[in-house]
Symmetry: C2
Subunit: 317 residues, 2 copies
């Protein structure tokens, strides 16, 4: 039921992904049925009579509305009926409910929001992207281990290079807590620490895992989204400005132009992981379209296949 | 003498800009002469025997090397012989020397680094981009007034809309100091405050002036640079992947393709202003090319023409 468009996006996305996994649609059966013409193998409905709305406070999400689709979906994971939840609902509500229902992996102090971004030569994982405003150095160290686990078991990178996001690369730059975290990273044999990175080299794959507190991580992620939007806008305006002859010429390169636009399309990268929980929880952007919500479902499947919660439990044992 | 390439970049850039302003090249006359074949009207050399190197500490820059090109250039402004300094040298050294030699506008607590970025419908000004790690709410208010002055007198925007960079748009989001700053902005009749903005809407021109502390501002700016690099890389790779027929087709749109690449070229946007000083000081990126250094010179000229230090002195009187 979540996201700006609700079932109009989530149900068609689930239909498209039904071959990849068994999917449970949690929500209002009638509204779901509008987008579901009859039975689809691998797809079933779990009714939930309520849904959270933007007007609901976090307290409402947590305490009132016991039958909200978000809560009911998370309960499926808590009950062992499902391996993962994908939601386009409110981030704070999803995080709050997930912490209370799916619970944390013992030993992990705080969950983090993590996303893989596509660099020049492959993906890299960045966390925390907004769950924790202030973090201790120890919490940042835990994020490094959590990012490591994703890069290893979703990304297949044997020894991920871990960096700290900072505003300079020299020792002594940035807030004191980043310097403290650097010392913890260096002392930890399970972290292959490569130093500070600045945002301008992220996409050159200077590191496989980039650790930040939730404030800096969120600022960086949103700025990247803004710049990607601007690049897409420039490309779009360029195409609109072409004259007939230029368009005819470009038509010859149409197939590959499509792949460029696809590469620049942020929907392809939709889906942020809540890491540190005993189950897989993926947050889809509220404005995701069908393709975007599919990306979020795919992310959840990859984390289940990579057994992320199990690896985290072993790591933090 | 500054920047990765020294006179090989700065001198040709100055030659190209010599018609726009009277330019003084401060540095080693012999190394400058290598790039200067004879007299150029509007261009003269002021000799400086030393130059700062990356090995120099901030203390070296400030106390030893009295004849460094950076110090000598700033002294030209302090002595009233020049209106502005443009340097590709170290940011911290330039800021430290500028504060001591060019001095602050009375009433301004801290200088800020500011840059105008190109959004969908025009430029916007973002500050601080890294001069001040931690800022008080009052210092953020001062940055708002400084950004206002640039947007008005360089950008020609009569009543700039001012926003605070944050990790959410609702009241209560983000660090306490941002909330405090929001209250100061609302109470100040010279600030047209429009609320919090997130990075993803910066390029939609949600505001004309975007205020942040130096940590958040630098994280955002560098992330934007990283994403712009990635977009340029995707475009480049797309062009390289085209087959002969596709290339022939695209050749028909070559002129406009050049303008797209130009729009995506970060060198066009090179040049960050040090605002709050009694003279114009513009920092060029160390890796700027000739076109990039020209942009930085152009920025300095616009700030001199807009009489930024004078307006700031009147504003903070």
């Amino acid at each position: 039921m979540g996201g700006d468009a609700g079932p109009a996006v989530t149900v068609p996305a689930a239909r498209a992904m039904a071959g990849r996994a068994d999917l449970i649609l949690v929500g209002d059966p009638e509204r779901i049925a509008e987008w579901l013409p009859g039975e689809v193998p691998g797809l079933r409905i779990h009714p939930a009579r309520e849904a959270l709305t933007p007007a609901d406070s976090l307290a409402d999400a947590l305490r009132r509305k016991p039958d909200s689709s978000m809560r009911q979906a998370l309960l499926r994971v808590a009950a062992g009926e499902a391996d993962a939840v994908v939601s386009g609902g409110d981030t704070a509500a999803l995080m709050g409910l997930a912490r209370s229902l799916v619970t944390m992996v013992p030993g992990i102090e705080r969950p983090a929001i993590c996303k893989d971004l596509q660099g020049v030569s492959g993906p890299f994982w960045m966390l925390d992207l907004g769950a924790n405003l202030d973090c201790t150095a120890e919490q940042l160290r835990q994020f490094a281990l959590m990012g490591n686990t994703l890069a290893r078991h979703v990304g297949g990178i044997a020894e991920p290079r871990v960096a700290l996001l900072n505003i300079g690369t020299e020792a002594g730059k940035g807030p004191a807590v980043i310097g403290e975290a650097a010392r913890l990273f260096e002392a930890d044999p399970s972290i292959r620490y490569v130093g500070y990175v600045e945002g301008n080299v992220l996409f050159s794959n200077a590191a496989d895992v980039v650790v930040a507190d939730g404030f800096a991580g969120n600022i960086a992620l949103k700025a990247i989204e803004g710049a990607a939007y601007m690049a897409g806008h420039l490309l779009h305006r360029w195409l609109e400005d072409l004259g007939p002859l230029e368009q005819a010429g470009l038509a010859l390169a149409r197939g590959k132009l499509r792949s460029l636009r696809h590469a620049l399309n942020p929907q392809r990268y939709n889906g942020a992981s809540f890491v540190g929980l005993s189950g897989v929880v993926v947050k889809s952007h509220g404005s995701a379209d069908v393709e975007g919500f599919q990306s979020a479902i795919e992310e959840a499947i990859l984390e289940v296949e990579g057994r992320i919660p199990g690896h985290l439990a072993a790591e933090f044992h």
